[in-house]
Symmetry: C2
Subunit: 419 residues, 2 copies
């Protein structure tokens, strides 16, 4: 696949020319010495084919969890600044070990921490955003024909304090380098070999996609497809970084993510489900204007993200308002609802964890009203009840009972003939 990409780039330019390829390897890809050598092989093969290579690594397998356990033994609420100092040591370990593996294979290599690689971030610890990458050192090392290994997930803020990027941080580090250095390709190596039309563990007939657009990938990611974190895809879209998701263990081609994917016959790109969802309901509020505003503005002021909203048609002057939030926000949202229960005149507050959000994603869906019909028909035929519906330009999501979610994915996958 790597050859395939190089050939394509070469063909386009008319001459064989050196490409800059950024490769990202997650924690499981470097979890032990054997896996580290496997990664070193991928990197050095790419380099040996005449490319410049920047490899971004996460901390080894369980290192982050081990470090968090050490911290919890001492202080369960250690400051986020010191947690960042602690956690950032994880990539420092994996990057130097990977560099030593590459050295042992006889290639020139250098490892760089976040600050050495020029990652400047906002000041927020534990969830910092990248502001800028000073690429001078990176470029110097590439000019020397070094393979450059960079610690993912970390940077420094304007106080020279170490920051970490939060969930999916290493993917974001890789895309940020690719954007800053105008790389030809940003490869994200993971434990799956690409983006599928559905989770293959649930839908055995799921098919790997060769290509997908940024927007479709964003919908799939946020819908729980669990391959890439949204922040990295958003950044790739913004800076037009061509990404590829592929496995570090197989040699199979992966899935390319780029602005305009090849027009495929298939309209629907995939089916995803998200079980990290809770439905909350405010039962029997008076059917006056402004009630919904009061509920959702209070939730918003507490930074609780509300997903699907359903407001029942008023009956006897009263109505119900239901909405979903992610499970981490359930407790806080419940407390807020209990607080305002009286002032909005609600009869009861309820919540339901036994729900799952199942979605179909595909560009141009809006202009194809048949999609919703096909989806609802499939669910109806399978006797699966839809409790809430939400749509966007490129997706349709339904909230169903948790027990039905896997079956729902399969019948939808079949109905759209994604296999």
């Amino acid at each position: 696949m790597r050859w395939y990409i190089i050939m394509k780039i070469t063909k386009k330019l008319g001459v064989r020319q050196m490409s800059l390829i950024v490769q990202k390897f997650g924690g499981t890809s470097v979890k032990d010495a054997q896996r580290i050598f496997n990664v070193a092989k991928i990197i050095t093969d790419t380099y040996a084919q005449g490319n410049s290579v920047v490899a971004v690594v996460s901390a080894q397998g369980d290192t982050t969890d081990d470090l968090i356990a050490k911290a919890n033994e001492i202080n369960k609420s250690g400051s986020s600044r010191e947690m960042d100092v602690l956690l950032s040591s994880g990539e420092q370990i994996s990057m130097s070990l990977l560099a030593m593996a590459v050295e042992s294979m006889g290639f020139p290599v250098i490892s760089l921490t976040g600050w050495q690689a020029g990652f400047l971030t906002q000041s927020t610890h534990q969830n910092a955003r990248i502001k800028k990458i000073n690429t001078e050192r990176l470029q110097n090392e590439l000019d020397k024909r070094n393979i450059v290994i960079v610690a993912g997930f970390q940077g420094i803020n304007r106080y020279d304090d170490i920051t970490t990027l939060g969930r999916g941080g290493s993917d974001t580090s890789a895309v940020a380098i690719a954007a800053a250095m105008k790389a030809d390709l940003c490869q994200i190596y993971t434990d799956v070999d690409g983006v599928y039309t559905a989770d293959p563990r649930i839908v055995p007939t799921a098919r790997k996609l060769d290509e997908i657009t940024y927007d479709e990938m964003l919908e799939l990611a946020s819908l729980g497809a669990n391959v890439l974190h949204n922040r990295s895809v958003e950044m790739a879209k913004k800076y037009n970084v061509k990404m590829e998701v592929l496995s570090s263990l197989t040699k199979a081609p992966g899935t390319e993510i780029k602005e305009v994917a090849k027009v495929e016959k298939m309209l629907i790109k995939g089916v995803a489900r998200d079980n990290d969802v809770t439905r909350l309901s405010i039962i029997g509020v008076p059917d006056y204007p402004g009630i919904a505003f009061k509920v959702f503005s209070t939730l918003a002021s507490e930074k609780i993200n509300v997903d699907i909203i359903l407001q029942s048609i008023g009956r006897n002057g009263r109505k119900d308002i239901s909405f979903t939030v992610c499970r981490a926000h359930k407790g806080q949202a419940m407390r807020i609802l209990e607080d305002i229960k009286e002032s909005v005149g609600a009869e009861e507050i309820t919540c339901d964890d036994n729900v799952s959000k199942v979605s179909v994603v595909g560009a141009g869906m809006q202009s194809n009203p048949g999609v919703a019909a096909t989806m609802f028909q499939a669910l109806g035929d399978a006797n699966i009840n839809i409790s809430m519906i939400s749509t966007s330009e490129i997706k349709i999501s339904v909230l169903i009972h948790l027990d039905d979610s896997e079956r729902a994915m399969r019948v939808i996958h079949d109905a759209f003939e994604l296999h």
Copy 2:
């Protein structure tokens, strides 16, 4: 003891005034959560007494060994640059954990890596010398009344690459900070509670010294007393940093190391032994001038440090030359001697590992000829044979059989009434 020091400083200045105290804690002092809290208690007690505190920490207990094992699994001869990246993560872990412990006790604290604390070193990896400390950040944090925790053993060179300081590096880091910031005291917390007249495990009647001069400490350190590394004492002497060696586990006063120690009745400060020594002999070389020069200049050109030298009186036109080297240099020294054996006309090259160097140390020894006599008498009475002797202004060393070394320490200790 800490109170005692503060009181003394206060008395000298006439008013109670804030002191800057640098405290260094080794790997065993922070090996687990319990020990980390013990260290946090020492630091915060010192701070609560109104002092500014900079704490320098090593990596936790076995961390360094674990990291080296990880590296060896991948590349037994990984570059020293990448080893420094790897090993320096150890202090990053211990310093953040210690900071979290201090946080949990309600004190303001910040941890700084080597580069954050401004440690600029020479470029040599694994054994870099400190060139300079940019104290701006350290001073800013102290001005904010933060307790500052600094990673020992590490810095960066002029390429912004991470370096480590080699053996005894954290002691040197602490003294360097104390020198750069003109600290009132540099406390080295270890697992012994001070400097003794002899190793208490060997000489049960050994007595802890209240004070010792830099020169005496240097001789004791290089003679195997194993309390402080020479580099840190040399630096303390050069910048006149008052040091104190004390235990992190007891509240007992330690030993102060400073330019002019209180005149004590006792002339001899201590007895030390060094078993890391091998005797090499060139037997039967012609008794011509220039032979010794040829031998020792060749060894010097290979950077082999020769300690005690004994040249026998010529007999039948031939003589023997014996000298000691540390055991790590034995193989190389033997090869050099075998190489030049023929050209110097030697009959035989021999070596003996069953030797030990036992020394007495004390300032002003030169003007007291009785010291050597007392020492040799004690050894003679104990039937211990002396094979080589070496003297300096403040020490007398003898080479004896390894089996006699502990007994020799005890009889010398008794003879000088050091108990």
